[in-house]
Amino acid sequence: MPTTLASPTETERAEDIVVTVINGVNRQTLEVAGMTVGEVRRQYRDTLNIDPDAKALVNGDEPEGGEEHRLGSQDELEFVQESGTNG
């Protein structure tokens, strides 16, 4: 069966825009470098079940620009899920 391989240029381009986005148990690699934290939060709110109030961390730290911080290639963006309430 013939397979179609991505050209080196296409592969390189995909890696350039990849960000790891985390929320709770969910961890996905998405092509969102260049977008802001707020844009990712809004775009993936439903698919990743992101709380609108969840604290955002970029590479483990709160970004200085907050929701306007623009994500770079290979960044790790975590929306910190709140602790469970009930016991």
């Binding site: 899920q81 709140e82 602790s83 469970g84 309430t85 009930n86 016991g87």
Partner: protein, 228 residues
């Protein structure tokens, strides 16, 4: 393992109820006469029967302590039928306390217990909470006065650092808190993760210990996180 161990379990509801039997069985066979104190100010009600085991409608801590004293006769199991509040937290969590299991239904009590554990040089606090299909377990370990892992009321969890809810032991009589629907499987999942954290602490201490674990029962997934 033959070290003496003093353990406090705060909250004997959906999570705490599932936690107790395997915890007590493990303690019974792995430790030398451990002391276990069960604390809860709440009573079992008929509505709890969809998620919790009990045989009489009475205080949760007293009911469970009595039942487990018969099942594990070599353990010293005490009960304290009251909520943990500002006025009694120093009595319930003392410097000699080794491990605190916290499975309550409000962040105000989590904050209170977190602050108390930060004052103790050597203690392990394992706190679990859940929403309907997700939840987390946090582990705060101190050694010689230093935090090995983060306190559960930390900068990443402002909902605990600045709780908006109220401690049930400090509410007025006319304040009624509506309980949210819960899923038995999620309570059981969190109880199991708390036990895993305890076994990890017992066997390996703080080496490489994670700060928290997220869980989702429908995805059947967990994710441990180290932030400290």
């Amino acid at each position: 393992m033959t070290d003496r161990m003093s353990i406090v379990v705060i909250g004997i509801g959906g999570i705490g109820g599932w936690l107790l039997r395997p915890l007590l069985r493990y303690l019974n066979y792995e430790f030398d006469q451990p002391e276990v104190t069960l604390i809860d100010g709440d009573e079992f009600e008929p509505d709890n029967a969809d998620r919790q085991n009990f045989s009489s409608l009475r205080n949760k801590a007293e009911e469970k302590a009595e039942a487990f004293r018969q099942e594990f006769s070599s353990l010293r199991i005490r009960s304290q039928p009251e909520y943990v509040t500002d006025s009694n937290v120093f009595r319930h969590i003392q410097p000699r306390t080794g491990v605190v299991f916290l499975s309550v239904d409000n962040h105000a009590t989590r904050k209170l217990v977190s602050d108390r554990c930060e004052q103790i040089d050597d203690i392990c606090l394992i706190s679990g909470g859940n929403d309907y299909t997700s939840g987390n377990v946090q582990i705060h370990l101190t050694r010689n006065g230093d935090n090995v892992t983060l306190p559960i009321g930390n900068q990443f969890h402002p909902e605990i650092q600045q709780p908006e809810d109220a401690n049930p032991g400090e509410q007025g009589c006319d304040e009624v808190v509506e309980s949210e629907p819960q899923l038995l499987m999620m309570n059981h999942f969190i109880a199991s993760l708390m036990l895993n954290a305890f076994e990890r602490f017992v066997s390996q201490g703080g080496d490489g210990l994670y700060d928290e674990v997220y869980a989702d029962c429908r995805a059947n997934k967990t994710r441990p996180v180290s932030r400290s």
